[in-house]
Symmetry: C2
Subunit: 388 residues, 2 copies
């Protein structure tokens, strides 16, 4: 591992949303060529490609996306599709990092893409293929996360209001993100009056169905001022089915992935100033806050109610000027408001965090956290601002 | 790349066939634990897992196979599913190799698995998702390979008989392979009288629909006598759709993958004594012979008619004792007779070749060749017998 750090040389994030006039290939191509242009390199510099995608086979009848994305380049670089349900994007970034560390390549492209809105009737069933098809037969993801929410609320007296506050915060953060699917505020009261999906989760606790793509160019060669570097990464696993887990109030995969990433980057949770975490449902953000070590067990809800992870310009309370020791969480709006094109999300998190560290002088250390299924896979990355 | 060679420490191949009493998970588990047992290591030695699978989401409603396979081990190693259509298995082996070369891991497991027979009505449509869904809409793989066959026959006057001879050879080779799906001989005449699928390809030119799994344990630490080492690998790409290719009588992906693998292993085509090539249709074996450099363009059919790639005990002709300069091709029976559980095939090739080099004193250098779709991805490996 002589090549750490790895630099994020270029990024691109497409519009996220219900994009009925855009195809899977369109979105992937915009992201891929956009990231290469942003990196200010020749396309022929790309030596290999990693594609994060969860289910284009089921959504679009199109597998073999590695080859599809390779054909955007006349020199047809070797290309690999990686899948780990909703963690496909983060895991594609991690495979790209291992390829760079192997010494085989110096500059690679990672593309995450998902086109979900062509079959909105089938989408819940397709997403359920990330759960254990045999042991959790017929389960849906809102149902599984509702179970986790119930358990957390029971064990720690977690108030329903904290979930509502997370949704409202992420919508407020998305206001400034031009690529976000939802750029409108919602109130905690609106969340609590919205349609019940799977008790206690309501429709405004759920991330939406989204089309979108994101890409990053990673390189071991620094070549750009205000470089952002990936300095740590980690991957953790859990059983697919909830019934065999030792805890339902924590995702061990996140704990393990974070531990590895912190150790590699020589950072601790209090060093993190900003984090993009996997809030597929509001309860998932609460889990992430505790599993990533930002809060002690059972205390994340209190921090949310105090708006300690909210950007100061959106704080409602008297704590407008509070300087929190917690990171700002989901600056992009998160999965909830920026949108969740499942295989793209993990790449979008890294791309978004790179831009934030490049452009915002308030932040120099960030973390991204991408989860597959109900937590059977988790991938954590740590990014740091640097100088070339 | 300081860790080459990589050693194949353990292998396991399940029965291949229509296994109505075996589930996807069953097959993957038998292969995974079997390979660990064959490697004579503790399960906890496995530091990471790579799973090759094409379409369990479509076949079985089960994605996220990385997490599923990880849960076979109590220490839940980080696990990644890799997909490149029918080259998923070979590409999973290649990702595992890069992970080892990165220095992150010393011992990893690769599992290839596919369960195809639960929905035999849907299988042709599901496999078509490996083609270009937009530009080749409605195409089937027999149709695409028939087009390649027609073009080769037209350009080189390739005789239909050569295709029939390939099918007959591979069936004869499979007689000795206890895991093979078809362990019965067929004659070239029978191939030519079998049902027409897509002219000129008949049903006995086609590999079957198969359930099966295979696994290998790879390590940078030698620990077993008669070790077999992976000494070269390469990956090549082509456009998904045939219409944009410069040639329809060659797969450039195979040419490129082979070039890289030969260079890494410092070998040339004439060094290869035995090869497992991707004969999803008989014509594909003819392409492979030329693209891998075993025969000059347009001459593979002649070599097949002379039985130069047939194991001597199965030779029909007066050349029973001919010492060919060509490798024996598809000793296992190939995809045609051993069977083709799509995501498992590339891993099975490496596992089978490892055993052959371990157990058969006639062979010390072998090659495996795995193709995705109609050639948009190709992966080539070179294996060598060694001593610890």
């Amino acid at each position: 591992m002589s090549h750490l750090p790895i630099f994020v040389q270029g990024t691109h994030i497409t519009q996220f949303g219900e994009l009925w006039d855009r195809s899977l290939e369109d979105l992937a191509k915009e992201a891929a060529l956009g990231a290469v242009a942003d990196a200010v390199i020749q396309p022929s510099t790309i030596e290999a490609i990693f594609v994060g995608n969860m289910a284009a086979g089921q959504f679009e009848g199109q597998q073999h996306l590695g080859a599809l994305v390779s054909s955007f380049f006349s020199h047809l670089p070797p290309s690999t599709r990686v899948e780990a349900a909703c963690a496909s994007g983060g895991l594609a970034v991690l495979q790209a990092e291992m390829a760079l560390l192997s010494g085989m390549y110096q500059t690679v492209l990672v593309v995450g893409v998902e086109k979900m809105t062509d079959d909105t009737n089938g989408v819940t069933t397709i997403l359920s293929s990330a759960a254990d098809a045999a042991r959790e037969y017929g389960s849906t993801f809102p149902g599984l996360y509702a179970l986790l929410a119930k358990e957390h609320m029971h064990k720690y007296q977690t108030p329903r209001r904290a979930l509502s506050m997370i949704a409202a915060k992420n919508h407020s953060h998305a206001l400034a993100n031009q690529q976000a699917q939802f750029r409108r505020t919602i109130t905690p009261d609106q969340v609590e009056k919205s349609m019940l999906v799977a008790d206690p989760l309501r429709i405004l606790d759920c991330s939406p169905i989204t089309d979108g793509a994101a890409a990053v160019v990673l390189s071991v060669k620094p070549s750009r001022k205000q470089l952002v570097a990936l300095t740590g990464f980690g991957q953790g696993q859990e059983t697919l089915d909830l019934a065999r887990r030792s805890s339902l109030t924590s995702l061990q995969s996140t704990v393990d992935a974070a531990k590895k990433a912190y150790a590699m980057a020589n950072k601790k949770p209090t060093d993190i100033q900003v984090a993009e975490v996997h809030d597929c449902f509001t309860i998932a953000e609460l889990f992430a806050m505790e599993d990533l070590g930002f809060c002690k067990r059972g205390t994340a809800a209190t921090a949310v109610l105090k708006e300690e992870t909210t950007l100061s310009q959106y704080r409602q309370s008297s704590q407008k000027k509070l300087k929190s020791s917690l990171p700002i969480i989901n600056h992009s709006g998160g999965l909830k408001a920026c949108g969740h094109p499942v295989g793209a999300t993990g790449v979008k998190q890294v791309a978004y965090m790179t831009r934030l560290l490049r452009e915002n002088s308030d932040f120099s250390v960030g973390l991204t956290h991408n989860v597959g299924g109900s937590g059977a896979t988790a991938v954590v990355h740590i990014l740091e601002k640097g100088q070339s």
